[in-house]
């Protein structure tokens, strides 16, 4: 395989913290925010239970969720990292930070290599546009030439097998067709670093057979995989290392079988 960028991919995370501001009610309003600043009301913070991130208020009295706290780890080429943890433990937030969608409030992340994020359940498609238009936009984003976009169209069209529907708005598709198109589109690229949410592995059973081969190719092509999942079978098949998150902190980091056994037994050390 030839990659023009010969440098091996890597992921470096150093002391990463992420605060997620929650805007509700008056915080969304310029008028109320200005009034509030004038009256300097003081409210006290709250702390949530241990499953989700802690909720607190920052200096400017914004309510923030402490989504990630002091994470440090390093992945080198060839590693497949699985992330486990309860809902709200910060798994998806971590994927979004690694993908550059959320920028950290503290610490540093450094990712070498092209990145692809498979996070969004409707694949980020615009449902009002036709299948073909969605494919072309994707091609433009990736920076393909005209012939490249044609090739992408053919590739996705062949995989999704939509027939004449490819020129109709995605909104009129059956749910199976949407999944086929989106999946074909999202997996038409093979990045060096692949960030993937668990649902991608657990797709609809009807297209699962067909999708599996294609997904496997993309995952194998990627030098680094970061995957969030609840399914032990998936983690055992795909991952070489597990990271256990709880309330935005790393509980444990190590080989799959060892961490999985501890996670399933639920023996979290007291934080």
């Amino acid at each position: 395989m030839h990659r023009p960028a010969a440098r091996p991919a890597f992921v470096e995370v150093e002391d990463l913290s992420l605060d997620f501001p929650l805007y509700h009610g008056g915080a969304r309003s310029l008028k109320k925010t200005m009034l509030q600043a004038a009256s300097s009301r003081v409210t006290s913070g709250l702390r949530a239970g241990s499953t989700g991130g802690a909720v607190a208020e920052d200096r400017t009295r914004r309510v923030v969720v402490e989504a990630l706290r002091h994470l440090s780890f390093r992945l080198s080429s060839g590693e497949r990292l699985g992330i486990v943890g309860h809902n709200g433990a910060g798994k998806s937030s971590l994927l979004r930070v690694l993908g550059g969608i959320y920028e950290p409030v503290a610490g540093r992340i450094h990712v070498g290599g092209s990145i692809d994020t498979l996070l969004d359940t409707n694949f980020g498609m615009n449902l009002d546009l036709t299948g073909r238009e969605n494919i072309r936009l994707r091609g433009r984003y990736v920076g393909l030439s005209r012939t490249g976009i044609r090739a992408l169209e053919d590739d996705v069209e062949a995989f999704a097998a939509l027939g004449p529907f490819i020129d109709l708005p995605v909104r009129v598709y059956s749910s199976g067709m949407v999944v086929r198109l989106g999946f074909g589109l999202a997996t038409a690229v093979s990045p060096q670093v692949l960030l993937m949410d668990e649902w991608f592995m657990a797709g609809d059973s009807r297209f699962r057979q067909k999708a599996h081969a294609r997904l496997e190719t993309v995952v194998r092509g990627a030098e680094i995989l970061v995957l969030t999942s609840h399914m032990p079978a998936v983690l055992r098949t795909w991952c070489t290392r597990l990271l256990w998150l709880q309330a935005g902190r790393i509980v444990a980091d190590g080989p799959v079988d060892e961490i999985l056994a501890r996670y399933q037994a639920g023996t979290a050390p007291v934080l």
């Binding site: 023009p4 997620f20 309003s29 930070v97 610490g107 092209s114 990736v142 992408l152 190719t217």
Partner: protein, 315 residues
């Protein structure tokens, strides 16, 4: 609009479309064009410890990468307009039709109110109204929506915010292009054709493009954070519409119009409008227009540098 599938996340995402090793699909055809932003070595470095200089560098990177994705921005802007009028018979020419009706009816009423000769007044009104509504007014209200409207995309992949700015500005260029038919028809009917002199409005239009982009950066950030800003902006633009010479001519005010140059919309409107009416904007007008634009860009850039890392959390 969520126009794009989840995609390469890095700004500097590199050559990405190598086929799988199993040869499931063609490897060579899907290589990015040389020189495209994606053919550099891909890297993503986010460091919260470096503070101000990094924020500013990151904003410059956003601008540079966004500009190199200009084709995507144009496609998105074009699709936005296509989508808005998909299923209607006349398409975007509905705008032209409604503008024509408005210019016609307002021309008659205000012509009577102001006691002016329609031959002088209607060409002025037609071009002013279209430039204001489809140009300045439309641009400002769309600018408020430039980041909020791209919520799906921004939350599912890393893409330069500049792409959304290009998209918003280009959408407005298309709308203005459809509307400009109306004043052209009025010019033809009243024999007020400006001829080659009209080309002098090109520098003004270029300035509009730049200012439109600045408005998107500025209002896009503010409106993403504070959701009550678009209605406030709407009210302010309504006031601006009346205090700017759009439906009335500056000459109607006479000496009482000394304050006109203080209204930033007046010189900005004039640098495009005057050449189309066969006049030449004075140096004073151009100076004021450029000065206002520099201030607008400075404010927009300062805000964008500060707000850019937060936008994904706000929307």
């Amino acid at each position: 609009m969520n126009a794009l599938p989840p995609a390469p996340a890095s700004l500097e995402s590199g050559p990405r479309l190598e086929g799988g090793e199993d040869g499931l699909w063609d490897t060579q055809l899907l290589a990015p064009t040389p020189g495209s932003p994606t053919s550099r070595h891909p890297e993503l470095l986010l460091d919260a410890r470096l503070g101000r200089s990094r924020r500013s560098a990151a904003a410059r990177t956003d601008l540079r990468d966004g500009l190199s994705l200009w084709r995507l921005g144009l496609s998105l802007g074009w699709l936005d307009i296509r989508l808005r009028y998909r299923g209607s018979v006349l398409g975007p020419f509905w705008l032209t039709l409604s503008s024509a009706v408005m210019v016609g009816s307002m021309g008659l009423i205000y012509g009577m109110l102001f006691h002016v000769v329609l031959r002088d007044y209607l060409p002025f009104l037609a071009i002013s109204l279209i430039l204001w509504q489809a140009g300045i007014g439309g641009m400002v209200s769309d600018a408020c929506n430039s980041f909020v409207g791209a919520e799906q995309t921004i939350r599912s992949m890393r893409m330069p915010f500049t792409v959304q700015v290009i998209r918003t500005v280009f959408g407005n260029v298309i709308v203005l292009g459809h509307n400009v038919v109306v004043p052209l028809a009025v010019f033809a009917i009243f024999g007020a054709w400006p001829g080659w002199h009209a080309l002098l409005s090109l520098p003004g239009m270029l300035l509009w493009l730049l200012d439109g982009a600045a408005a998107c950066f500025l209002l896009g950030c503010v409106c993403a954070r504070f959701r009550d800003v678009p209605p406030i902006v709407g009210s302010l633009m309504q006031i601006a519409y009346y205090v700017t010479p759009v439906i009335w001519k500056p000459s109607m005010l006479g000496a009482r119009g000394w304050w006109l140059p203080l209204n930033p919309f007046d010189p900005l409107l004039d640098v495009v409008r005057a050449p189309l009416l066969g006049q030449t904007p004075t140096m004073l007008i151009w100076g004021a227009a450029l000065g206002d634009s520099v201030l607008l860009w400075a404010a927009a850039w300062l805000l964008f540098v500060r707000a850019r890392p937060r936008i994904a959390f706000w929307i």
